[in-house]
């Protein structure tokens, strides 16, 4: 096929000067006869040049062929209007056409995201190699499969660097079956915002898991700081707690990547102290709002010199740790460059600060309870010889501090099961009634006959115990070995009785 020059534009109206000149040239080739009449009647599409053997297309046929063979202008319009970056590849991977979104993407990126019109996309993938973020060979293999018709669609998510930081893309490759030139349509969609949102969601979950697994505040703080650093790619983070009595922020916990400079930075932080309103941490503590510096020199409304001892030459991101409007401290993260946080990031750090604040508050309550329990136990130990617990059937389940009832193995026994207990039936009955009524009892005394014929005396006190549902679950209480006192009382009573006897005898 040959197009006679000058080739008329497909968009030129019929009968232009160029086309009339073209027809004259054609008529010269066809000297006369029905062919000439047909040409003049506009019923001919092509003339076979006897000399060259080429078919020479007349303008209307040219237009029809161009519109069929070339990407038509409707397709171009649609392509240009799409937000996704689109490239059309031929069978060898050469980029035949791109839309404006692709051109904009290619300007700002390198590697496979930066392949321009006329370049070979497959070669770009092959040359990109493989790293932790993108496998160029895998992408090239997928595209080749699509071009060969071995698969209808190929998808691949990858990350690549840009002046604005790391960005994520999803690549979609579809076959262009039925077209002579185009073999594959490549779409490249920027999914950075979606991916960052996923990372933030993962971070929030990780923080909650850290808090659920932590049994101390120190463990919780370190694991949360680490989770945030690893998620955001930051070097280190520190927690400064608000010392309420002194009214200052003091260093408490940190985590950082194992790099000497970072370790030194964290070591120096140990002595740092901030008054509310001073420095980035102090301002966050005062305002309760997150603050950040992007790279140590740019900070909104903050003088870099004010922050120098706090952040060095680095960027910083600081947010409060609070619970119900009470600020417990601040988390301060450092990295050479901190990206301007978006609304979603700010929302997540506030949530993390709140979760951590609630955990620390709960931990404070638990610690206070633990201290109180320790004090109570010490008092119990001082005022009794042992304490015990019983199940709902009044069987001993636990005995702490001491060996009750003269080394008897009491587990699984009730009070009245103890061997050689000396107590009247009436007193046992009265005691059992009290237990059945779930009343507390104190100084319930009884004796146990020892193998040597002596009596040992004991006094027990108890309180009913209820579980969280309010169901009775047994008793707990204390026990005292009162043998010495009892024997002394008995001896005194016996002595008094003897004296009274002697006095009676003498008066007689």
């Amino acid at each position: 096929m040959m197009l006679l020059e000058p080739a008329p534009s497909p968009l030129a109206p019929s009968g232009t000067i160029a086309e009339r000149g073209f027809k004259k040239a054609v008529l010269r080739l066809v000297k006369g006869g029905p062919e000439r009449l047909a040409i003049e009647a506009g019923q001919i599409d092509a003339i076979i040049d006897p000399a060259s053997g080429h078919a020479i297309l007349l303008p209307d046929a040219q237009r029809a062929l161009i519109e069929r063979k070339a990407p038509n202008r409707y397709a171009s319009t649609v392509l240009d209007s799409l937000d996704a970056a689109i490239a059309v590849l031929d069978q060898t991977g050469v980029v035949l056409a791109v839309n404006p979104a692709w051109r904009a993407l290619a300007i700002n990126h390198s590697g496979i995201t930066g392949v321009a019109l006329g370049s070979n996309y497959l070669a770009g993938c092959d040359n990109a190699g493989s790293d932790e973020h993108v496998d160029g060979m895998a992408i090239a293999a997928g595209i080749r499969q699509v071009i060969a018709g071995e698969r209808a669609l190929f998808r691949y998510d990858y990350a690549c660097g840009s002046p604005a930081g790391q960005r994520w893309f999803t690549l979609g490759v579809a076959g262009a079956a039925g077209h002579d030139a185009a073999s594959a349509i490549v779409s490249c969609e920027d999914i950075t915002e979606r991916r960052r949102g996923e990372f933030l969601l993962d971070l929030e979950r990780t923080v909650l898991r850290c808090l659920a697994d932590a049994d101390t505040a120190a463990v919780a703080l370190k694991s949360v700081i680490r989770a945030v650093c690893e998620s955001q790619g930051w070097n280190c983070g520190r927690y400064f707690f608000l010392d309420q009595s002194a009214g200052v922020l003091r260093f408490r916990e940190s985590w950082g990547i194992p790099v000497a400079a970072v370790e030194q930075f964290l070591e120096k932080s140990r002595g740092l102290m901030f008054h509310p309103g001073a420095g980035l941490a102090g301002r966050v503590c005062q305002s309760g709002q997150p603050l950040w510096t992007l790279d140590g020199t740019r900070a909104s409304s903050l003088s870099p010199t004010v922050l120098a001892p706090e952040t060095g030459e680095e960027g910083a991101f600081v947010f409060p740790v609070s619970s119900e409007d009470t600020i417990f401290g601040v988390l301060a993260f450092s990295n050479p460059i901190i990206r301007e946080p978006d609304d979603r990031t700010l929302q997540v750090v506030r949530s993390i600060g709140s979760h951590l604040g609630r955990f620390l508050h709960r931990q404070e309550v638990v610690d206070a309870l633990r201290r109180s329990e320790t004090r109570f136990r010490a008092l119990t130990v001082m005022t009794s010889d042992w304490h015990w617990e019983q199940d709902r059937d009044f069987r001993f389940t636990q005995s702490i501090e001491g060996r009750p009832f003269g080394n008897v193995d009491i587990f699984g026994m009730t009070h009245w099961d103890l061997p050689n207990v000396v107590l009247t039936d009436a007193k046992w009955a009265e005691h059992k009634c009290r237990l059945a009524a779930r009343w507390s009892f104190s100084d319930f005394e009884f004796a146990i006959l020892q193998p040597d014929g002596q009596h040992d005396y004991y006094s027990v006190s108890g309180e009913p115990v209820y579980d969280e549902a309010g169901t009775f679950s047994g008793y707990c209480g204390t026990g005292l070995d009162i043998t010495t006192r009892k024997r002394a009382e008995i001896a005194l009573r016996d002595s008094e009785a003897r004296l009274r006897t002697l006095a009676g005898l003498s008066s007689d």
């Binding site: 062919e35 009449l37 019923q43 599409d45 092509a46 297309l57 209307d60």
Partner: protein
């Protein structure tokens, strides 16, 4: 493109011998598209199944056209029964086509 339509024995008493034709076209050309439609309509109406039509795209087979003495598309060449005849153009003149095919309209 070279398409052929196979003929079947005609039951029409008026056409006892199959008409063999070659239509030379240019793919996508508006006159060629029209010519195909016109000859198919004529064959349907006047030849029933008693014909054989071959369609040759000169963009793919330019030498074939030259060999057959065709210099423009669309052109319809009747090869048999003799005498041979050629009609040039989009075949919109049905009477001229029927005359060339030896059929009285």
């Amino acid at each position: 493109m070279a398409r052929k339509k196979a003929s079947r024995a005609a039951t029409d008493a008026a056409a006892t011998t199959a008409v063999v034709m070659v239509l030379y076209i240019t793919e996508s050309g508006p006159n060629s598209v029209q010519a195909i439609a016109n000859i198919e309509a004529i064959c349907e109406e006047h030849l029933k199944d008693n014909f054989r039509l071959e369609i040759v795209d000169v963009l793919q087979y330019p030498r074939r056209a030259l060999t057959d003495g065709v210099v423009v598309t669309p052109s319809l060449a009747k090869l048999s029964p003799l005498p041979a005849a050629t009609v040039v153009g989009n075949l919109s003149d049905t009477r001229a086509v029927l005359r060339a095919l030896g059929i009285r309209g």
